[in-house]
């Protein structure tokens, strides 16, 4: 066990800056900026919307990755923080908007700290009582917590959530540069070289997409810093062996609470962004399945890995939505747009099969982080058994029939 870990004692992400890297990142940045415009130019208006949703999933996956990937705590109720961020932002935002309508254009930005704080505090509140729980029990408690949050919202708790009907987001906000409304739908780039009538248009979806990409970059930056920080190392120590970690001075309580609240924080910000992007929020968006999809995102992408979270989000959120969007827009030859809902249902059928095959073929995920790969795929089968017992252990001797 020890050897297999020592071998992979690499420090991820602190490589030298080489010209090739700079070129690659520049290309990537250009691609991120231009892709939605190209799709818009060809009239695939639904694509920027889907790309924005993928971005939100990346944020969620990275946030949950802090809890599951870094700290090794399985959380099946992550969507609760997403919901709390969304509702806290929308409710407080509406209240602030009423008091000071002049705040309108800035309300989304003003609410980011509110949503983040609300979610982080809830994470802390959930983390405190469940500190002693591990493995599957923790998973179940978080699952129950997620369901409780959704049901409480559905039941119009305290008369502020408006139940199943949902709430509109305050102020029809779109994050545009310099706060200029004129920039929405009025910016065109006409490039005849790309075909006749090829026009890049920048509409609200595209601005939201840029906003979400910026948030994702912020998330990636913070998550990477966290992973390499003192706290990140204590998480690694904790998930590998809690007892050993605590005996060398890692405060398990602090590490777990930090993991819960920092993970929840990103969920909250993503929730607020989602609510403002859709301009509407309702409990329907925060079901248990949503939590499961976020967990799937990081497991399929590769646990503890940032590129993994992105690839996972593209596979889980992007591809199915893209196929459905194509069908609905009549872009798939031979498919009637009216059958788009049937296609939408088939995507879950196929997705289910895909998940099963994917797990059998590559249980460690597509792009696992090196360290996690070593933990999850040790050299021998016995080591694997030992590991799987300590990683998400249910820690008790079973056999109590």
């Amino acid at each position: 066990m020890a050897e297999s870990k020592a071998k992979t004692n690499t420090k991820a992400g602190t490589g030298r800056v080489t010209p090739i890297k700079i070129a690659l990142y520049t290309l990537l940045a250009l691609a991120l900026i231009i892709t939605p415009l190209i799709f818009e130019g060809y009239g695939w208006l639904f694509v920027p919307h889907i790309m924005a949703l993928i971005g939100l999933y990346v944020m969620l996956a990275l946030g949950l990755n802090i809890v599951v990937g870094f700290a090794g705590l399985l959380d099946l109720g992550y969507v609760a923080f997403y919901a709390i961020g969304a509702y806290a932002g929308v409710i407080v935002g509406a209240w602030a908007f009423k008091g000071a309508p002049a705040l309108g254009p800035y309300i989304y930005f003003l609410m980011i700290p509110v949503a983040a704080a609300a979610a982080a505090l809830t994470g802390l509140a959930l983390g405190t009582p469940v500190l002693r729980l591990r493995g599957d029990y923790l998973a179940i408690v978080t699952l129950g917590f997620g369901e409780i949050v959704r049901i409480v919202i559905t039941n119009n708790a305290f008369g502020i959530t408006n139940g199943a009907a949902g709430l509109p987001a305050a102020g029809q906000f779109i994050p545009k540069p310099f706060g200029l409304d004129w920039l929405i739908n009025n910016v065109y780039f006409n490039i005849p070289a790309l075909g006749k009538n090829f026009i890049f248009t920048i509409d609200g979806n595209v601005y939201w997409y840029y906003m979400i990409v910026l948030l994702c970059l912020l998330t990636i930056f913070v998550v990477r810093r966290l992973d390499q920080s003192r706290l990140g190392r204590s998480w690694a120590a904790m998930r590998e062996d809690e007892v050993a970690a605590s005996s060398v001075g890692v405060s398990i309580t602090a590490a777990k609470l930090w993991a819960f609240s920092l993970g929840a924080l990103w969920g909250g910000i993503a929730g607020l962004t989602f609510a403002n992007f859709q301009q509407f929020v309702s409990p329907e968006s925060f079901t248990f399945m949503e939590s499961v999809f976020i967990v799937c995102t990081i497991v399929i992408g590769g646990m503890g890995s940032i590129p993994g979270a992105i690839v996972g989000a593209i596979i889980i959120q992007g591809i199915p939505a893209f196929i459905q969007g194509m069908a609905a827009a009549g872009k798939i030859p031979g498919v009637d747009p009216s059958t788009a809902t049937v296609i939408a249902n088939y995507r879950f059928l196929v997705f289910g099969l895909f998940v099963v095959i994917m797990m059998a073929w590559r249980p460690q995920g597509l792009i696992p982080s090196k360290r996690r790969a070593a933990e999850l795929k040790p050299d021998t089968a016995e080591m694997g058994d030992e590991e799987s017992e300590t990683l998400y252990d249910a820690q008790h001797d079973s056999g109590q029939f």
Partner: protein
């Protein structure tokens, strides 16, 4: 007096609901006891049980089927003719559904979980989610996306009356069947050869294998019995509520899982106890607090039990090995 009757009525509802939860919970607990994995697809097997049951029942009783296949007409006349016929018809419905769903469970184990025995703990969990999505959408696409009415051949007869509360025959049958099955399973696990093999497998898979126990067979058995009991619950669920739908499994599945954890997961008697406790708590909550919050009560109980007694009501206390 009014209050006592209300409590009594809710208690009886709770016991009926609890019987269903207990039957489903056994499937979770059997699998968890042996493989330490949460079989998220179990709720979909419960749903499949209801659909297979409805299919068989339609085949045996529907007049439109008899018109298409005249061979079935005399059998149908027998099955719908008398109480004895109805009894036999239900037996066939239950047995076929149990068999089909049990085999489904075994197939799922073979293809979705067995390749993952040595994979990280999360892998089978995610795989189970995949199976669950697949089954749900298969039913949605290939059977129906709508609520389908489920006939109740037992009828709405009253078995007996306590105070002013009527107890229907169906409720009595659900309760009695559940208890009989639970006792039978408990006896099977504690006394039969196969049961012993299953217990040994759950205690230490490797050692059990070295002692000449066919581990794969034990695991297969757990994956057959659990879903078969789930199928019974599914059919009763259909009769009790009068309709079934492709996503009917989710909430009862989650509650039954809660029940299994509540009783101490991996513990058969715990699962039964947990099922009844949860069913009764939920019914009382919906009668006295609010129907909207009955699920909150169920999950709140779960969280409180896990925080204060992490092993569940009947579970062994947790000892962490270093």
């Amino acid at each position: 007096m009014q209050l006592a009757n209300l409590i009594l009525a809710q208690l009886i509802n709770g016991i009926t609901l609890g019987s269903l939860y207990a039957l489903i919970a056994l499937g979770y607990t059997l699998v968890y006891g042996i493989l330490l994995m949460i079989n998220f697809a179990h709720s979909e097997l419960f749903m499949s049980g209801a659909f297979v049951g409805l299919g068989v029942m339609t085949l045996l009783t529907s007049s439109s089927i008899a018109q298409k296949f005249p061979v079935l007409a005399p059998a149908q006349a027998f099955f719908t003719g008398s109480n004895v016929g109805v009894f036999f018809m239900l037996m066939i419905v239950f047995l076929v559904s149990m068999l089909v769903v049990g085999i489904m469970g075994v197939i799922i184990e073979r293809f979705a979980y067995r390749p993952l025995r040595h994979a990280p703990r999360l892998a089978p969990l995610i795989s189970a989610v995949g199976v669950s999505l697949f089954l749900q959408n298969a039913v949605l696409l290939w059977v129906s996306a709508q609520q389908i009415p489920f006939p109740n051949p037992i009828g709405n007869g009253i078995a007996f009356t306590i105070g002013t509360v009527d107890v229907s025959v169906l409720k009595v049958i659900i309760f009695v069947t559940a208890i009989v099955l639970l006792v039978a399973l408990d006896t099977f696990i504690s006394h039969s050869r196969f049961g012993k093999a299953m217990r040994a497998t759950s205690q230490d898979r490797e050692a059990a294998g070295l002692m000449g126990i066919d581990i794969n067979f034990s695991i297969m058995l757990a994956f057959f019995i659990g879903p078969a009991l789930g199928a019974v619950a599914g059919i009763f669920n259909g009769m009790y509520y009068g309709s079934i739908v492709f996503n009917m499994g989710f909430l009862p599945g989650l509650k039954a899982f809660t029940a299994a954890v509540l009783g101490g997961i991996g513990n058969l008697r715990g699962a039964m106890l947990g099922g009844f406790v949860l069913g009764i708590a939920e019914s009382l909550a919906s009668g006295f607090i609010s129907t909207g919050y009955k699920d909150v009560i169920a999950f709140a109980i779960l969280i409180l039990v896990l925080i204060f007694r992490p092993g569940g009501l009947l579970g062994e206390s947790v000892v962490e090995k270093v």
